[in-house]
């Protein structure tokens, strides 16, 4: 594909890396939060639910700004994370992944939560009666049954991460090779007259990749469904 320049290649690689890690790293958290929201009643339930949805409601720029306030170098969490864990987000690809993960989080949680709510609690009760502790019930019964939903959530999150722009550029700027993802590249092209063709090329790449992920997930989901089939 020599019609993509080296900078574009690098944006593409970076976008894939960012989206991959944004999805993978937020998955366990999303599973936990979705489970808590679906099955537990606790004070702060509404708050947590609201918090999760926040990035959806806020204009992405605001989210990016808030991330900056929290995780920036002079933010209230940033220095602390750096000193204690050596984690740095600002102006790094990890920050882009964080922004993408935060923006995609509500989508992932909703998908997983819906699947959890659809699991027949009587099956979980049956597992419990066979000696499985809550944890094992979750691992051996709930998780396999919600797999299609988890997959859906992950793909949704991946797709969103591939397209995330506003929060990312606000939080970690646009540093070629470090935080210049496909959407920021596309955005830059659209900013100048006549950049449409170059933008279209990158859009095509993004679309092809996302479609690939979608098709893969559909295929996996169908395999799972066929196995459980007919029930």
């Amino acid at each position: 594909m020599d019609w993509l320049g080296p900078e574009e290649w690098s944006a593409l690689r970076l976008s894939l890396r960012v989206s991959f890690w944004a999805t993978i790293a937020s998955l366990p958290v999303a599973l936990f939060v979705a489970h808590a929201l679906a099955r537990w009643r606790f004070p702060g339930h509404g708050m947590l639910n609201g918090l999760v949805h926040l990035p959806l409601v806020l204009p992405p720029v605001v989210t990016g700004y808030l991330l900056l306030v929290a995780f920036g170098r002079r933010g209230f969490l940033g220095p602390w994370l750096h000193d204690w864990f050596g984690i740095v987000f600002s102006f790094r690809w990890t920050g882009a992944a964080l922004a993408a993960a935060v923006m995609a989080f509500p989508l992932m949680v909703r998908a997983i939560r819906l699947s959890i709510e659809a699991v027949d609690p009587r099956l979980e009760a049956a597992a419990g009666s066979l000696g499985a502790s809550r944890f094992w019930v979750w691992i051996t019964v709930t998780l396999p049954l919600i797999l299609p939903g988890v997959l859906a959530g992950a793909v949704l999150a991946f797709a969103k991460a591939m397209g995330e722009f506003g929060a990312t550029i606000t939080f970690v700027s646009n540093i070629p090779g470090e935080t210049r993802t496909l959407p920021t590249a596309i955005y830059s092209f659209l900013q100048v007259p006549g950049g449409e063709a170059a933008a279209a090329r990158l859009v095509l790449v993004a679309v092809v990749l996302a479609m690939g992920a979608l098709i893969l997930s559909e295929w996996l989901a169908r395999r799972i469904a066929r196995r459980i089939a007919a029930r």
Binding site: G128, L130, A132, S133, I228, A230, R231
Partner: protein
């Protein structure tokens, strides 16, 4: 084992309030649809939490709402066989069967020889060998229930809770599986709480019967007593019957087993029990013919002389309670026969029971060792 259950719960328009002790052996919860049988079972299993409950097993508290104790379901080590199967749809039949094993830790793990032996025994007994590789979604109703039974048995529970485990099965299969429940009771001595609405099944398996009706305990006691009591008789229709206890005397060459019931000789087609073993026989009231005297030239081999104790009208028919040396028997006869034979309390009559009419399904084997057929 002693299971002690006391519970109280108000549903909208219906409330359960009962209190009973289940001694060793199999306690059957018996009663009509909607009586509260599944409710009690689920409360014991820890799957339903009544407003007030105190449930103890062998002295350890499982639930006590008064003291806010409720042992988690998975810590109770009870094997529940649900009325609706509840197989895990994403696991194969074999994985379903082994599910409980994963959590046995220490005690006979999945890989062990004993476990494998037990597994293959259960699979064979339930006739589900050809199904082990399949997914539950493709099973027929009866197949599903058989797998559910196997799954509970293989979890090696301290107490089995079975909610109408056989109602989806055909008679041949029922007849095949019932002995296994008996074996569980007698050999492995696994205690059971067993819900059923089938009197022959109850008679066969129960040590104790708890009769429920509209959320209340109507009666509880040894199977023989409860099943031949008028309360059980009324409404039970043709399922009414008496249960008597007998001892195996000897096996005859012509395929007949001779039993002794309080001095009366009874004859059954070959029973798989060694001489000396005690058996429980259920004789349905509708299977007992009354005669003024012992007739000759009949194919029926069992004649039990006795004295009429009481008569109960039950619609168009009369249920006669006859005291024999073997125990109380019930007989349902028409008014016409009643007057023709001049049946009244104190009258001496002979009860005729076909040897075959209560074999093999109505034979219960309370706590004896019978040679195991693998």
């Amino acid at each position: 084992m002693t299971l002690s259950v006391a519970l109280r719960h108000r549903f909208a328009g219906f409330d359960v309030d009962l209190d009973f002790e289940a001694p060793k052996g199999v306690t059957v919860l018996f009663g009509p649809s909607g009586a509260g049988k599944s409710t009690v079972l689920n409360a014991v299993a820890g799957l339903f939490h009544p407003e007030h409950a105190r449930i103890t097993l062998d002295g350890t508290v499982l639930s006590d709402t008064g003291r806010r104790i409720s042992v988690a379901a998975h810590r109770r080590r009870l094997g529940v066989i649900f009325q609706d199967g509840r197989l895990f749809p994403h696991l194969t039949v074999r994985q379903n069967l082994r599910y409980g094993r994963w959590f046995l830790r220490g005690r006979s793990r999945p890989g062990s020889w004993a476990a494998a032996r037990r597994e293959s025994d259960v699979i064979e007994m339930l006739g589900i060998g050809p199904l082990v590789g399949r997914m539950p979604g493709t099973l027929s109703g009866g197949e599903r229930q058989r797998v559910a039974i196997g799954r509970a048995l293989l979890a090696e529970p301290r107490l089995i809770l079975a909610d109408e485990p056989l109602s989806a099965l055909d008679d041949a299969r029922k007849a095949e599986i019932l002995p296994y429940f008996e074996r569980l009771r007698d050999e492995l001595r696994v205690p059971m709480l067993y819900v059923s609405h089938s009197a022959p099944e109850v008679a066969r398996i129960a040590t104790t019967v708890a009769l429920l009706g509209r959320g209340r305990l109507l009666q509880i006691g040894p199977a023989a007593e409860v099943l031949s009591a008028p309360a059980a008789v009324a409404g039970a229709g043709r399922e009414a019957g008496a249960v008597i206890s007998a001892r195996v005397l000897r096996h005859h060459a012509d395929g007949i087993t001779e039993l002794d019931a309080g001095g009366v000789a009874l004859f059954l087609p070959l029973v798989n029990a060694r001489p000396g073993a005690r058996l429980r026989l259920r004789i349905a009231a509708s299977d007992v013919i009354l005669a003024r005297e012992r007739p000759a030239g009949l194919s029926a081999l069992n004649m039990l002389p006795g004295v009429v104790e009481s008569l109960h009208e039950d619609g168009n028919v009369v249920v006669v309670r006859l005291n024999t040396a073997a125990g109380a028997l019930l007989s349902r006869i028409t008014h016409r026969s009643c007057s023709a034979l001049d049946v009244r309390p104190g009258a001496r009559l002979v009860a005729i029971a076909k040897s075959l009419s209560h074999a093999p399904e109505d034979i219960g084997t309370p706590f004896c060792d019978i040679p195991r057929t693998a």
